[in-house]
Symmetry: C2
Subunit: 219 residues, 2 copies
């Protein structure tokens, strides 16, 4: 029997990259998908391309300009990305981003008869982002199945939803994930800023596991 | 008390234009929204702009390139739009189009605190398009409410879902809808082709009501 096929949504960050390695370990035939949503940290698209290429996997970048929706520091060049110490992570919310990404993935899958989608939110995410809760993904699976042009059961797997970033990282070391190739910083700088919410969460996870992050950070 | 606010998704066709007039008759304060999805009948975007302008309403065009998803004659320049007589309407399905449009509308509304969305599928639509069924919209409302960044109840109103195109047209005449400004043809030609599914359904509705369509058609 042929391996099952899946789409893995790959941001190029540590969680989705670990997810990709996890899905491959589960013997799926994988199509990677990334989203160019006019994010200021566009450098993550290059990271995702490099990671997929290293694994010899098909990689598609879908464009959806979320700057035209507004409301987030991640897409609005006039709104500064806050340091984590400012405790203003809600400004990094991009309205309904996960809904749009999963729907685009399901649409892309519909034309290629792929019904399984893997998506990488971790336990910490849903403290700020309501669309990282499993109850939301369950509901979206139903809507996407009902809305597809033929009878199908869309599945959005989120194996990290109950795991902390540190737990994901431990699994990643077992899978030999090349964390030096991933990108995390919301500010999109290289070396990474080390101060935004994304950098701080990453560094905290590495510290918890007791490993030095291979990425360079501003001093 | 101020009038309630709503987003009306306006394609520039006869159903959504009638919907717009209906929503205004219900005393909503309206933001119109159209979608540039790389459709070959882009002329409908100009129609929607003109209609909103005539009513003095704010009009926003959101871009989402669905040609990159593929699978439809409406976005693929290499796939011919069939005549209705060919009975191949399924080739005009754009995967999860309504899901994407409603989600974009909800995201746009989220940043502006507008929770009510009006969308214009008619009874005939759900014979071909599964994402025109009310059961689908109910499910999507739940997913969008759960996925929004704050607690809100997204509503997607589809007042035409139980009405035929002819019934919508009868209501439109009561509301003085300027059907000469609307665009319907999938082929995007002016004069309209008169042969594609969209043109045939429109002409059938006008014939049923016993009114001459003010649009020009190829002879």
């Amino acid at each position: 029997m042929a391996n099952p096929r899946a789409i893995v949504c790959l941001s190029g960050g540590m969680d989705s990259t670990t997810l990709l390695y996890e899905v491959l370990a589960r013997n799926y035939q994988v199509q990677t998908l990334s989203f160019d949503y006019n994010q200021r940290h566009r450098i993550e698209l290059e990271a995702s391309r490099v990671i997929a290429e290293r694994l010899g996997l098909p990689h598609k970048i879908l464009k959806i300009d979320l700057a035209q929706i507004g409301g987030s520091a991640l897409t609005d060049a006039n709104t500064a990305v806050p340091d984590q110490s400012e405790q203003r992570q809600e400004i990094t919310v991009v309205p309904l981003r996960n809904t749009l990404f999963c729907t685009l993935a399901a649409a892309y899958g519909e034309t290629r008869r792929i019904d399984e989608i893997f998506y990488g939110p971790v336990k910490e995410d849903f403290q700020v982002y309501r669309d990282c809760r499993r109850v939301f993904f369950d509901s979206l699976e139903t809507a996407l199945s009902l809305g597809s042009s033929y009878e199908r059961k869309v599945q959005i797997h989120t194996p990290w939803a109950e795991k902390t970033k540190a737990e994901v990282l431990r699994r990643g070391f077992e899978l030999n994930v090349p964390y030096d190739l991933t990108h995390t910083c919301y500010r999109g700088t290289r070396p990474a800023c080390g101060k935004c919410d994304a950098c701080r969460e990453r560094l905290t996870a590495f510290a918890e596991v007791g490993v030095i992050d291979p990425l360079a950070y501003e001093v």
